[in-house]
């Protein structure tokens, strides 16, 4: 009897210990300073991953036989606004991509203008932060070509992608630095697997930034804003999920 009680005490103590350890972790997890300490791993990941390779290394490309049977959609499946619906009804003929901010020649591109430019087609693997992957064939205009036309000012450090969809009442946006902006596989995609990009995957224009996770690949892109700092956009963390959910701005891992 004595032994059972002792063992029970031991187990109870152990459970309580584990419980307080867990609630301790939760308290730490909600503490902003501790969050920042943990977040320093992001800087390490960014520096090391950028230091490896020649900085313009291509993400793996695949062949047609490697395609996912179905390319999964995530996040917004349909922006659902009257403007978007009206544009979709006419095949996005009136869609405009506005290049604003720190450009020497800010300008707008219609979808037709983008389609008439040189294109890049790539079969790449889309890696979601949740863990799943899908392989799809994307066709679009290399972002570099648009940047060459609009010409960045010297003070520009980031590109912000403004989107037509809203999540939880906030406009979706994302941002990348200039290294990714000029990367050969960074394209404004309008075709997926040989067809116009479906609405659930970001019609008519979706950013592909292949060396980062899926949430960086902004859908329904309406504008690209060149900025010197991300501080004044949204809550200043560089993207919707970064602002709302503490996701890392650098999503290379």
């Amino acid at each position: 009897m004595r032994k059972i009680l002792t063992r029970r005490t031991l187990i109870t103590t152990g459970a309580l210990g584990a419980g307080s350890l867990l609630s301790g972790c939760d308290a730490l997890s909600r503490n902003q300073t501790f969050q920042n300490i943990l977040g320093s791993a992001e800087d390490a990941n960014f520096l090391v991953q950028r230091a490896l390779g020649d900085r313009m290394e291509l993400a793996s490309e695949y062949s047609i036989k490697d395609l996912s049977p179905k390319f999964r959609a995530n996040g917004t499946r349909d922006p659902g606004t009257p403007d978007y619906a009206a544009s979709a009804a006419q095949g996005f003929a009136d869609w405009q991509l506005r290049l604003t901010g720190l450009f020497k020649r800010p300008q707008n591109f219609s979808l037709a203008a983008l389609l008439s430019m040189p294109q890049r087609t790539q079969i790449t693997r889309h890696d979601c932060v949740e863990g799943w992957s899908a392989i799809g064939q994307w066709t679009g205009v290399p972002l570099k070509l648009l940047l060459d036309l609009a010409q960045l000012q010297d003070s520009a450090k980031f590109l912000v992608f403004h989107c037509a969809d809203r999540l939880g009442g906030r406009p979706y946006y994302e941002s990348i630095d200039l290294l990714d902006a000029f990367h050969p596989q960074t394209i404004m995609a309008h075709r997926l697997n040989g067809e116009s990009v479906p609405i659930e995957n970001g019609a008519p224009l979706r950013l592909r930034v292949e060396r980062q996770l899926g949430y960086k690949h902004a859908k329904y892109v309406t504008g690209i804003e060149a900025v010197a700092t991300l501080d004044n956009i949204g809550e200043g963390k560089g993207g919707y999920w970064e602002d709302v959910g503490n996701y890392e701005w650098y999503a290379g891992i």
Binding site: C25, D26, L52, E57, L58, S60, R125, W241
Partner: protein
């Protein structure tokens, strides 16, 4: 039965002890925050791609009334534990792994990732340091080298029998570690732990651009993710065996030895 080959009176060197406890903390946080990340998409695939419409070799099913784990075509009901469990407020949750097994205990993929990557750095640097150090101080060559005699089935069988009789500290008189200890030591530190780091890196899209061969070695990103999960399960298994042997050999003395260093003549190992 230890022939001490150095002059220190301590059984565990300070660096070994430090590494042991840093490692223990890292692995605990890595497993628990890893389960948070797994909860975001509790399905495992083979190959390069895999998402909800693709066949998963392992998956957690959940609803308000039922939780189950499916392995291939076999369904195992896990209601109350995996896929359907009650949180501390008594609310039914349908995330795969329960709150007591995850960091944080509530579902937050972003926070789970932060814990995971921060401790992955400490763990990786510590492991690299330990491995390099044990090569240079000849810990590997001296204590872990498996001689031809030890490879003999008769020796392995003898050691298995010894373990079954709960005699853990008979190394045959020559070595610090007996053959089963060597197998588990080498298997965990030099194979399993590095495998966890590399399968983890193989899931990174930036690493895929930097080192595409890494993902290829494991047969694709989703295979790497599956192997990462299986490796985690083996580490948990190792932990359980480690704890059982510890309890059988003498938990207080052994734990105290791993904290203070212990005395060299204590020959039993957990």
């Amino acid at each position: 039965m230890i022939k001490s080959q150095n002059n220190t009176a301590k059984r565990h060197k300070l660096t070994t002890r430090l590494w042991h406890w840093v490692n223990a903390l890292c692995l605990l946080v890595l497993v628990m925050s890893g389960l948070t990340i797994f909860n975001a998409h509790p399905r495992l695939y083979w190959g390069e791609y895999g998402a909800s419409d693709d066949y998963a070799w392992a998956a957690v099913g959940s609803s308000q009334t039922l939780g189950y784990v499916r392995l291939g075509e076999i369904k195992i009901e896990t209601t109350g534990f995996i896929g359907n469990w009650r949180d501390s407020n008594g609310q039914i949750q349908t995330w795969a792994f329960p709150g007591w097994a995850t960091i944080p205990s509530y579902y937050s993929l972003a926070e789970g990732r932060r814990w995971h990557f921060f401790f992955a750095w400490i763990f990786s640097v510590g492991l690299a340091f330990f491995m390099i150090r044990s090569m240079f101080n000849r810990h590997v060559q001296k204590d872990l080298h498996i001689s031809r005699v030890e490879w003999r089935p008769s020796n392995i069988l003898r050691d298995v029998k010894n373990h079954l009789r709960l005699r853990f500290h008979d190394s045959g008189g020559v070595n610090i570690y007996n053959i089963l200890q060597k197998f588990s030591y080498i298997g965990v530190i030099f194979i399993l732990l590095p495998l966890m780091i590399f399968t983890g890196l193989a899931m990174s899209p930036a690493m895929d651009a930097n080192w595409p061969w890494l993902t290829d070695i494991f047969g694709g990103r989703q295979s790497a993710r599956s192997i990462h999960f299986i490796g985690m399960s083996l580490l948990v298994l190792f932990f359980i065996v480690h704890m059982i042997t510890l309890l059988l050999v003498g938990p207080f003395k052994q734990t105290w030895a791993m904290i203070t260093g212990g005395k060299r003549e204590d020959s039993d190992h957990a």
